[in-house]
């Protein structure tokens, strides 16, 4: 197990003075990921916030080789690079780093193809549940009831379960984690690095301008999402689904999920559920969905 003190001493490959917003979760997610992967990494980044964070040429805020691809092609370009690395006999990690728009919606066919072929790619989605870079539009990962600029009265559908789609592909490694737990991100990326084949990690990333909360709450909300069961910490490895961290404690019956209201109340994208009129029907539906989803995962998991 990695400790916070170990993480603090490692070299940072995301440089300070980048173009991210204050309190941006990419900072925490990408720093920790690159600490786990080291310098022998090639990144493939489609259109997403990271292509802004890295800055404009001739400089770059990320100190590993990076290639900017078209929106739908992160997984397919990475597949080509993985094949080239194999032919040249290079020992590098091919990392496709995309947002949830480029993963859940636009890049889905490329990911499905790469997963089916079993290409040697580590695909990480930092999931802020909306198209933040283009101005907060609805995506397949947006949860029920959330405000975006294209769902003014709240989204009417539940979010897509990308982890389960990848598990159905029977890839070697699928994991979900949250920005609230940098040590968990490190452990999962490290484990994925050692494996061969297509690997997928989904990092929940609370976005201050998109979710409408003060910039100092990024980490706190990443943790609350786990503690309320809104997001689950799990990993699928060698055909077995296992829980980690707080989600594991709940699965073992040692803790209970907090009411989801604690998580929703802190974000203004859910404010219309509380004022001017409290929308109990939507709140109860979110709570029911959390319970149902957790029971579904529990029925598949080995504890």
């Amino acid at each position: 197990m990695v400790t916070v003190k170990d993480l603090a001493k490692m070299e940072d490959l995301l440089l300070k003075g980048n173009a991210a917003c204050a309190g941006c979760p990419i900072g925490v997610a990408l720093r920790t990921t690159l600490k786990a992967l080291g310098r022998k990494t090639i990144m493939f980044v489609p259109a997403c916030c990271t292509s802004v964070v890295q800055g404009i040429g001739p400089g770059a805020a990320i100190s590993v080789p990076l290639f900017n691809t078209a929106f739908e092609t992160a997984a397919s370009v990475a597949s080509g690079a993985a094949a080239a690395a194999e032919i040249l006999g290079k020992d590098v990690t091919i990392l496709a780093w995309a947002g949830d728009g480029g993963t859940y919606d636009i890049g889905l066919q490329a990911i499905s193809g790469a997963a089916e072929r079993g290409d040697n790619v580590l695909y990480i989605c930092y999931n802020n549940q909306m198209y933040s870079n283009t101005g907060i539009q609805r995506s397949g990962a947006t949860p029920l009831g959330a405000w975006t600029t294209t769902t003014w009265t709240g989204k009417t559908e539940h979010m897509k379960d990308m982890g389960m789609i990848l598990i159905a592909h029977r890839v070697p490694y699928v994991a979900a984690t949250s920005v609230g737990y940098p040590d968990d991100i490190y452990e999962k990326v490290k484990k994925a690095k050692e494996k061969k084949g297509f690997r997928y990690i989904d990092i929940l990333a609370p976005c201050p301008p998109g979710w409408r909360f003060p910039s100092d709450m990024t980490i706190r909300l990443g943790r609350l999402a786990i503690e309320t069961g809104f997001w689950l910490l799990y990993e699928y490895e060698d055909g077995e689904l296992r829980f980690n961290g707080y989600t594991k404690l709940v699965a073992e019956g040692k803790r209970e999920f907090k009411p989801v209201e604690e998580f929703l109340r802190l974000q203004d994208r859910f404010r219309h559920l509380f004022e001017p009129k409290r929308r109990d029907d939507i709140l109860e539906e979110i709570q029911r969905w959390i319970k149902e989803r957790f029971e579904w995962y529990l029925s598949l998991a080995k504890i």
Partner: protein
């Protein structure tokens, strides 16, 4: 790789401060009270900007690049970091 590769290819090189001195974005500045600090290094890990450095096992804030988001003050378990209004 040939040395004059930059003449023919539009390659970017890693650089600290690609968006300038981002410290100028700041409205609230974090301050560390070293008497309260227990050296847990949580602030170093959760800083989204990588602008809290370690110096002799103690966290030190790089005010040139700190954007003042306040994550460190929120996450400090002993409340050793406070946010002070700068402008």
């Amino acid at each position: 790789m040939p040395e004059d590769v930059n003449k023919y290819l539009p390659l970017s090189k890693p650089k600290i401060g690609i968006s300038g001195k981002t410290g100028s974005w700041r409205i609230f500045a974090p301050e560390i009270n070293y008497e309260k600090c227990v050296k847990c290094h949580i602030c170093v890990v959760v800083c989204p900007e990588a602008s809290i450095l370690l110096e002799d096992d103690r966290p030190k804030i790089d005010y040139d690049y700190c954007k003042g988001c306040g994550v460190c003050a929120r996450e400090c378990p002993v409340g050793a970091i406070t946010m002070r209004r700068e402008r």
